[in-house]
């Protein structure tokens, strides 16, 4: 469904992505793991056309999308939950969700359907319902993360890009969020590309995973293989923490 071929992305002179190739199949949950600065966020932003690749190809559902602008990417069915939530803090919770459906409003989709999807988000995250009229900036970190996910879901994406959704959340909430991700896949067939520092949790829900190091893919395996992989255990699963620093 998503196929990335040999992309290179630069920030000025900094070569952030080096010949990255990866794919996400329909209905698949794929994890992207790697240390800080490895280029995980850059991959998502390159797909979303926020930081377009200088060469290489990105195909989605058979057509090239690497020359499109961010709004068109969303229209094609790819939504991103960005790193650090980036919700619209001065706007209400409800407004944030409505803006998630911005393109659906602009294409004059029936209000009723959008309204129903809003209700669905409130069913997924009941805390948001109680706070629907509140300014988004007044939400707790966990609630902001729920809102960021809810906002992305309002676009009815076929592929969801999630950038560290578990960041800074209590274990209970992390479970909650991953439950929602799995539910989305089983109910709607949504594909997910998941960036996560917490590799153990990510690999538990994922089908496959890629390991990224300084802008390069160094490993691609099924999630269970990665979980069993000694190097991955040492570097990303927190076993023998000391050794990571010595590497």
């Amino acid at each position: 469904m998503l196929r990335i071929k040999n992309i290179n992305t630069y920030y000025g002179k900094l070569h952030a992505l080096k010949n990255i190739s990866l794919h996400v199949g329909a209905g698949e949950i794929v994890a992207l793991i790697g240390a800080n600065g490895a280029g995980k966020t850059t991959i998502l932003n390159t797909i979303s056309a926020v930081t377009p690749p200088s060469n290489g190809e990105i195909h989605f559902e058979g057509s090239a999308i690497h020359n499109l602008s961010p709004d068109v990417i969303v229209r094609r069915g790819i939504s991103q939950v960005p790193e650090g939530r980036q919700i619209f803090k001065p706007l209400s919770v409800e407004d944030n969700l409505e803006l998630g459906a911005y393109l659906r409003y602009r294409s004059h989709e029936k209000r009723k359907e959008i309204q129903q999807d809003k209700e669905t988000v409130y069913v997924l995250f009941p805390q948001l319902l109680e706070r629907r009229a509140q300014l988004a900036g007044t939400l707790s970190g966990g609630e902001q993360q729920m809102l960021a996910i809810g906002r992305a879901l309002m676009a009815k994406p076929k592929l969801l890009l999630l950038d560290e959704p578990a960041m800074g959340l209590a274990p209970m909430l992390v479970q909650e969020i991953f439950r929602v991700i799995e539910e989305l896949r089983s109910r709607r067939g949504t594909s997910v590309l998941l960036v996560e520092q917490n590799a153990r949790v990510a690999l538990k829900v994922a089908d496959r995973g890629y390991v990224l190091e300084t802008g390069k893919v160094i490993l691609e395996e099924t999630a269970s293989e990665l979980l069993a992989n000694k190097d991955v255990q040492r570097a990303y699963l927190g076993k023998d923490k000391k050794e990571i620093w010595e590497r």
């Binding site: 706007l91 911005y102 393109l103």
Partner: protein
């Protein structure tokens, strides 16, 4: 007429010009929020409003309402064109460079207006007669009521647009976080273009409703623009009620100063307020601490 009647007179006429500054100020705030630039060409759209109405009405003999409509339309188109030609091509330019470009744009538009209409001052007919209305000893023209009414409609429409329409909400989202906005599918370039169009329309409307009272010429945009800027600064570039209050404050203080001290100080007062605000409360009068701009 005793002093209290004089003061009422000054306050009422001050509120009327203040309403104009408020509308111009809203235009500044809208563009600032979508681009982080101060559009110093804003005053020229105020001038275009008055001069174009005059042109359609007096030169082309069109009816006044139709002339007003056309003037707002043309000024809006000029604003959109200005954004397309001068702002949008410089995608990642420093805001300071863009601000300087808007100053260049204002000089250009003013120059063209001078070539077209000369340096004369013109007067636009009142919208509905010039029979003064006496109110508790103060005298107002029917035009003052037009100003109050139209300003009120603009303020309410502005509020409804930015808080209750999806495009208005998208523009507020853009002013808070452009990347996140583009990630929900908002076309940031369109919102910038749209903000220039709205601001030009607001400026033109302000220029049209005040022209029958104050006369108009190719260079009225300089002063009106700067006072609208002053209103927006007092309002902390909020695009909301703060800027409206800012306009009214400038209008009333200026009118009181001119009446009670000397009319020679009229323009100076606005600048003294502007400098005081910039030195003492650059975040605006009504913004608490460092809370988010809405």
């Amino acid at each position: 007429m005793d002093l209290s009647e004089d003061i009422l007179q000054y306050i009422l006429s001050g509120l009327s010009t203040g309403a104009i500054y408020a509308v111009i100020g809203l235009g500044f705030a809208i563009i600032y929020n979508s681009t982080s630039i101060i559009n110093f060409a804003q005053g020229e759209f105020v001038m275009l409003g008055g001069m174009l109405t005059l042109f359609f009405h007096v030169t082309l003999f069109l009816s006044l309402p139709f002339s007003i409509f056309l003037a707002v339309l043309v000024a809006t188109a000029v604003g959109a064109l200005f954004e397309r030609l001068a702002i949008s091509p410089l995608k990642n330019a420093d805001p300071l460079i863009l601000v300087i470009i808007t100053i260049g744009g204002s000089i250009l538009i003013r120059g063209i207006a001078m070539l077209l209409w000369g340096k004369d001052t013109y007067v636009l007919p009142m919208f509905s007669g010039d029979e003064p209305i006496v109110l508790w000893g103060a005298t107002l023209m029917p035009q003052n009521f037009w100003i109050f009414g139209i300003t009120l409609i603009i303020i309410v429409a502005n509020r409804l647009f930015f808080h209750h329409s999806i495009i208005g909400k998208a523009m507020r989202a853009c002013s808070f976080n452009r990347v996140a906005s583009s990630l929900v599918g908002i076309n940031v370039k369109h919102t910038v273009l749209f903000s220039f169009a709205i601001s030009s329309a607001l400026g033109a409307a302000a220029g049209i409703i005040i022209a029958p009272l104050t006369m108009t010429s190719y260079d009225v945009g300089i002063m009106l623009g700067l006072k609208g800027f002053c209103a927006a600064i007092i309002g902390g570039m909020s695009g909301g009620i703060g800027t409206v209050a800012g306009g009214l404050i400038v209008g009333v203080l200026e009118s009181l100063g001119a009446g009670l001290i000397s009319s020679g100080y009229k323009d100076a007062i606005a600048f003294i307020i502007l400098l005081l605000i910039l030195f003492l409360r650059p975040q605006g009068l009504f913004v608490k601490g460092d809370t988010e701009r809405v």
